[in-house]
Symmetry: D2
Subunit: 183 residues, 4 copies
C-alpha cells in the first residue's frame, strides 16, 4: 500500500510554494500536513545527556505520527534565507530526538524505506541560490537512505507571482506524473 504525505513548511496560507505544489498534487490523493498549524519547538540537544531527551510539550509527535504511515514524503517549503523555513527546520531537527525515542524504535529504518521529493519557491534567483538547500536535503536523505526522487524550484516573491514561472509549473506538473504511481 503506497501513499503520500505532503509536508508544508510555509507560514502564509496559499503562498507561492503551495501554489507550485498544487500543480503537482491537486489531482492526487495525498495527506496534507501544514507545519504552521502545529507548535513545534526547536530541538534542545540532549543526545549525550545520561538521562536522554526530556519530554517536550508541543505538537511535534502529532505531526510525525501523521507523516510516518506514508511512504512518499513531499517537502514543500518556501526558501527563507536560502534554505528551508525555520518552521520546517525545527521539524526536521527534532528527528534527532525521535531517533532516540523508545516510542519510535524503527524510526531510522522507516525513513530508509521512504522516497522523498522537494518543492520550493523563492524570490532571489532560487534556481541557483536554492541549490545549497537541495544539497542539504540530499545529505539528510542520504543519512537515512531515503531515496531523493526529484525536486522543483520555482521563482516567486509577491503573492500570485508563481503563475509567471511557466517552467516551474510545468516541472511541477511533470513531478505530479511521477507521484501518480505512488498515491
Amino acid at each position: 500500500m503506497m501513499s503520500i504525505a505532503v509536508i508544508y513548511g510555509g507560514t502564509r496560507p496559499n503562498g507561492n510554494t503551495e501554489c507550485l505544489a498544487s500543480k503537482a498534487i491537486d489531482s492526487l490523493k495525498v495527506e496534507k500536513i501544514f507545519l504552521r498549524d502545529y507548535k513545534i519547538l526547536p530541538i534542545v540537544d540532549y543526545r549525550h545527556s545520561p538521562e536522554g531527551f526530556p519530554f517536550v510539550e508541543d505538537e511535534y509527535d502529532s505531526v510525525i505520527n501523521q507523516a510516518l504511515p506514508h511512504d512518499t514524503w513531499v517537502f514543500v517549503t518556501p526558501i527563507y534565507w536560502y534554505s528551508m523555513s525555520g518552521t520546517m527546520k525545527n521539524f526536521i531537527d527534532r528527528w534527532s530526538q525521535t531517533m532516540r525515542d523508545s516510542r519510535y524504535p524503527g524510526f531510522r529504518s522507516q525513513l530508509a524505506d521512504k522516497r522523498a521529493f522537494v518543492i520550493a519557491a523563492g524570490g532571489d534567483h532560487p534556481k541557483m541560490k536554492g541549490l545549497p538547500m537541495i544539497m542539504q536535503f540530499q545529505h539528510i536523505f542520504n543519512f537515512f537512505g531515503t531515496t531523493f526522487e526529484g525536486y522543483v524550484i520555482g521563482k516567486a516573491s509577491r503573492p500570485g507571482d508563481m503563475v509567471n514561472d511557466f517552467e516551474a509549473l510545468s516541472a511541477a506538473a511533470d513531478l505530479g506524473k511521477v507521484l501518480e504511481k505512488y498515491q
Copy 2:
C-alpha cells in the same frame, strides 16, 4: 570603534562548537550572545499583508539589539542536519521582519557594513557535508553586502570530541588572529 559579537546557535552549553569557537575568541574582547537563552519564535510571513508584520511576543528584539552595535559578527553553530541549528535559523529568518520594522530603519545598510565569520562543528563529514551551509551563509551575507571573511568547520560528535580535530583547532586559532584587529 570596532567590536565583536559572537552569536551562538548551539543548544547544549559547552558543546563542541563552543569549544572550537573558544579557540578563536578566548583571548579577545567580545560580546557573547547565546540564542538558547532567548525565546525566538519562527517567523510568520506577513511581508505582503497590508497591515504588515504584527508585533511578536518573544525576545528576538533583545537579541538583535545586542548584536547590532557590533560591526563584526561571528556565527557559531553546530551543524544540525547539514545546516545551522533551527534556533539560529529562527533568529535569521526574523531578519525579514526587522527589514520591514520601522523601529530599525537602517537595518539592511547596517548589515552591509558588517563583516561576518562562521564557526561550525558537526559529526558527519562536516568539512564536506557542511559546505552547503557555508554557501547558504554566503548567500545571506551577499544579500546584505556583508563581507564574509572566513569560516572554520570542525569535526566532533560526542562531548569533548573537538579536542581531537587539531586541524580545526589550529584554523580557529588562526581565525582568532584575524579577529584580533576587529575587537
Copy 3:
C-alpha cells in the same frame, strides 16, 4: 539583432546530451559549434609573464570567433566526472588568454552582454551530483556579468537512454520556448 550559439562539449556524436539539447533547439535558428571538431589546447598560464601569452597553434580562435557574434550562448555538455567535459573546460580556460589578447579588446564586456543557458546530462544522479557544475557555471557567468537564464539536467548513461527521462525532455522543451524569443 539577437541570435543563438549552441556550444557542444560532448565527444560522441549524437550523444545523450545532444539529444536533450535537440529537444530545446530543433525548431530554432541557431549556430551549432561542436568543440570536438576543433583542436583546442589546454591553457598555459602566462598571465603574469612580462611577454604575456604566446600565440597558440590551434583552432581556438576559430571557435571563439564563431561564438562571439551571438548574444545567447547555450552550453551543452555531458557531465564527465561531475563537471563539464575536459574539451569544454579547455575552451573556457582559454578565455583567460583572450581577456588579455589585444585582438579581443572588448572580450570581457562582450560577455557581460550575453545571456547563457546550460544543458547537461550524466549517468550518476546528475540532478544532484551535477549541481556543483551548475554552480561553477554560475560563478563563471557572474565573473563576466553574463546573465544565467536557465539550465536543464538530464539522466542518461547508455546511448539512447535520454528518451526515458521525460521530465528532462519536458524541461528542455520549456527551455526551448524561452530560447524562441532570442533567436
Copy 4:
C-alpha cells in the same frame, strides 16, 4: 608500505598553488608528478562503441603508471574558472578509459583503496567560490570509494601572493602533519 604521489595540475612552474603545496609536503618523501610535463589529450567517449576505446597516442599511461603505486594522492591544482585546471580535468576524464582498459583490470578497486587530498589556490574568493570544485572532487572520490581526507584552499592571484594568506599556509602545514604518517 605507504607512499604519496603529488599530482600537479598547474601550468606555471612555481605558481601559487605549488607554493601552498610545498608548505604541506616539503619535508616529506613524495613522488611529484607535474601534469604539464606530459601530453594528455581530452578523452573521446567510446564507452559505448562495440570496439571500445582506441589506443591514444599521448603520455597519459606514463602518468597513471607513476601514480598508481602510491596509496595517497594529493591533487594540487590552481582554480581555473572555479574548477580544476583543464590539464587536470583531461587527466581525470581519461580515467573513464582506464576503467575499461584491459591493461588496468583492478583500476576501480585500486582507487577505492587510496586516500586523497586536495590543495588548491585561486584569486577570486577561492574559499567560497572554490567549494563547488571541492564538492566535485568529493563526488569523484565517492564514485571509487576513495577516502577524501582533507583539503586546503588558498587565496592568491599574482606570483608570490601566496605568502600573504597565512591561514592557508598554516592549514597546509597542518595537512602536512596528517600526510607525515602516510609517507
